[in-house]
């Protein structure tokens, strides 16, 4: 036992010293981010400018991140998605963006940046976005079956369907299926119709997918043939040789989500490096990197246009001419009802 102890302490101590000394990041910029976004491809310009990477602290879920910030965790920048930004703003967590310090502000996607213009100030720098649409196993599902979102309630696919375990994506689907493509103006009766539709779909659901990794697993094994999925899933699966395709052109349409960077109000450092980081993110090479390597869209619309429609269509990010439900901020009372309903539906009520 003593030997075991000594061997492990030795090994482990050595490792630890080795890595901690090698990994000393710039502590003048603390970024509270999703745990895979510390990818230098996104902010190469920042590294060149300052000779070092910023410091990252990771979260895996926005609500947990929100709670942590609200209690008093300090970071300079964070990365919420569109549905959370209003809540973060109302809780006083955000500083308005100083848009004159963002070099490529005029290139930023209009709709996305305007969505968070509150009292004349902008709060979100839309960085990454993607589409949510119908994905299917093309080798096992005939194409005529996936022309409508109705397939999610078709008894033929009972037990072969997966929907995101995420209230926004799930209701985006339900609203589209019931004929609503702008949820900023939904009424109680729209909500009731959408909920009723989700209850129908619930009967077909094999599993509510939690994450991209889990969904790929389900579709690769054939457990699930039809899913309401993010565009990255088919892209990744095709590159692995699975015939999984995405149809964003169902007659009811599909949805888009977006996330972005915010300047946190209680940041421990002054803002100079915050904007260096933002500017690095919006360089053309970062845009190219996120599209090619990650399969996401970038908030820099001008650079996205330059990439050409071929690559965008291949990644499932091209423009389409069916209804698109953009997951813009919505009335929070309706949203709270959606959240409560969704839990009931998932629990079988």
């Amino acid at each position: 036992m003593r030997t075991l102890f000594l061997v492990s302490i030795g090994l482990f101590g050595g490792f630890w010293l080795g890595t901690t000394t090698a990994y000393a990041a710039d502590e003048e910029l603390v970024i509270f981010d999703w745990s895979a976004y510390n990818d230098p491809g996104f902010y190469q310009g920042y590294i060149e400018q300052h000779g070092d990477e910023p410091t990252f602290s990771f979260f895996g879920e926005e609500e947990e991140a929100f709670q942590k910030l609200r209690i008093g965790f300090e970071a300079d920048i964070s990365h919420p998605c569109s549905q959370s930004v209003s809540k973060w703003h109302e809780a006083g967590l955000l500083d308005p963006l100083q848009i004159d310090r963002i070099e490529r502000w005029d290139q930023v996607n209009e709709t996305m940046k305007e969505a968070f213009k509150i009292d004349g100030e902008y709060y979100l720098l839309p960085a990454d976005w993607g589409t949510t649409a119908l994905a299917y196993r093309a080798d096992l599902v005939p194409e005529e079956d996936v022309q409508s979102l109705h397939v999610f309630v078709d008894p033929k696919y009972a037990g072969k369907v997966s929907i995101a375990d995420n209230v926004d994506d799930a209701y985006a689907l339900a609203y589209l299926a019931t004929g609503v493509s702008d949820w900023t103006s939904v009424t109680e009766s729209d909500l009731a119709k959408a909920s009723a539709w989700l209850r129908e779909a619930h009967k077909n659901v094999r599993d509510y997918w939690q994450d991209g990794a889990g969904l790929s697993q389900l579709m690769a094994s054939g457990e699930v043939l039809i899913a309401w999925a993010w565009n990255e899933t088919p892209v990744v699966m095709q590159s692995e040789g699975h015939d999984v395709r995405m149809n964003r052109l169902t007659k009811e349409g599909s949805s888009t989500w977006f996330c972005g960077y915010v300047d946190l109000a209680n940041g421990p450092n002054d803002d100079s490096k915050v904007y260096d980081f933002f500017n690095a993110w919006f360089e053309p090479r970062s845009v190219e990197y996120i599209v090619n390597e990650w399969g996401y869209g970038h908030g820099n619309q001008a650079e996205m246009d330059k990439l050409g429609s071929e690559i965008l269509v291949e990644m499932g990010l091209g423009p389409i001419n069916v209804p698109v439900l953009a997951q813009k901020p919505m009335n929070h009372e309706i949203r709270e009802q959606m959240i409560a309903e969704f839990e009931l539906i998932k629990a079988g009520f």
């Binding site: 054939g222 457990e223 709270e336 998932k346 009520f349």
Partner: protein
């Protein structure tokens, strides 16, 4: 000899002994507990807390059909998991304690815990590969021609939650039982044999009662925390596998209703403690009878 004096000394040494862990827990937990308790009598509107006293949260927690159903489902699953885990664990603990040579025991204990040094999330992923559509089990059964179509009842239901959780908690059940078995004085067993007891009778009269502290510890260690687990049901429970812990989580996060979450959590805590008490009481009775 002043009896109460001795008792006092005893009482003091007990208090002194328990004070480090007690004060540690008090420092870190007193505020949270009071906070959660107070919270459960308040209400929340979006981001604003309303501090007027109300029992509404408890009313909702105890009468809402969904909360009742989820609570019962959680209890059912936790009890099943506990039973399965303890029953599966006992023979293993017994084997290590009685059949493995003393020199090899540490090796075995490590063997039993090492698979759990990989991330739980990763293990769940691999469980899905085992139980899934063309997973290990279905693949093998189809391979030997036992079935033609993959079995779908293996995954995404409450059974899958029970299997995954039992697996996750089994080392936590083996260890306490093993600890208790190790303490059994082997001469007692010989004495029982000398008295003409058969193996079954010996087991019931000597081994089991003496192993009881370990079995109790194992039961509590498995039963209590499984009520609070919300990751497993999310990942392998499928459409009908949500449990009360998921509901509590949602209230604290997305639903912006921490007070209801607190009331649900405290209610669950109360029910679990009550069941644990009843269990301990039955055990004490049983042990007394055996003596």
């Amino acid at each position: 000899m002043n009896f109460s004096f001795i008792q006092k000394i005893r009482g003091q040494s007990g208090l002194i002994l328990v004070s480090p862990p007690f004060f540690y827990a008090l420092l870190l937990l007193a505020f949270p507990l009071m906070g959660v308790f107070a919270l459960s009598f308040w209400t929340q509107d979006y981001l604003e807390l309303n501090r007027d006293f109300t029992l509404d949260n408890y009313r909702e927690a105890w009468t809402g059909a969904i909360y009742q159903a989820l609570m019962l489902r959680s209890l059912k699953i936790s009890i099943l998991v506990t039973l399965l885990t303890v029953v599966l664990a006992f023979p293993v603990a017994y084997y290590i304690s009685f059949h493995v040579s003393p020199k090899k025991k540490p090796l075995w204990i490590f063997l039993i815990t090492i698979p759990f040094w990989t991330s739980y999330l990763i293990r769940i992923f691999l469980w899905k590969v085992i139980l899934g559509f063309n997973g290990v089990i279905n693949g093998s059964l189809i391979g030997i021609g036992f079935i033609d179509e993959p079995l779908k009842f293996l995954l995404f239901n409450q059974g899958a939650i029970v299997v995954t959780l039992s697996h996750a908690w089994i080392p936590f059940a083996i260890l306490p039982i093993y600890v208790a078995l190790e303490k059994i004085d082997r001469s007692l067993l010989e004495a029982s044999e000398d008295l003409g007891d058969g193996p079954v009778r010996r087991f019931m009269r000597v081994t089991l009662p003496l192993a009881m502290p370990g079995i109790i510890a194992a039961t509590l260690i498995v039963f209590i925390p499984t009520i609070g687990d919300y990751v497993t049901p999310k990942l392998v429970g499928g459409p009908n596998g949500l449990l009360i812990a998921n509901m509590i989580e949602v209230q604290f996060k997305k639903a912006n209703n921490a007070p209801l979450g607190a009331a649900l959590a405290l209610s669950a805590m109360f029910i679990v403690s009550a069941i644990a008490m009843v269990f301990l009481w039955f055990n004490r009775k049983y042990l007394r009878q055996e003596q």
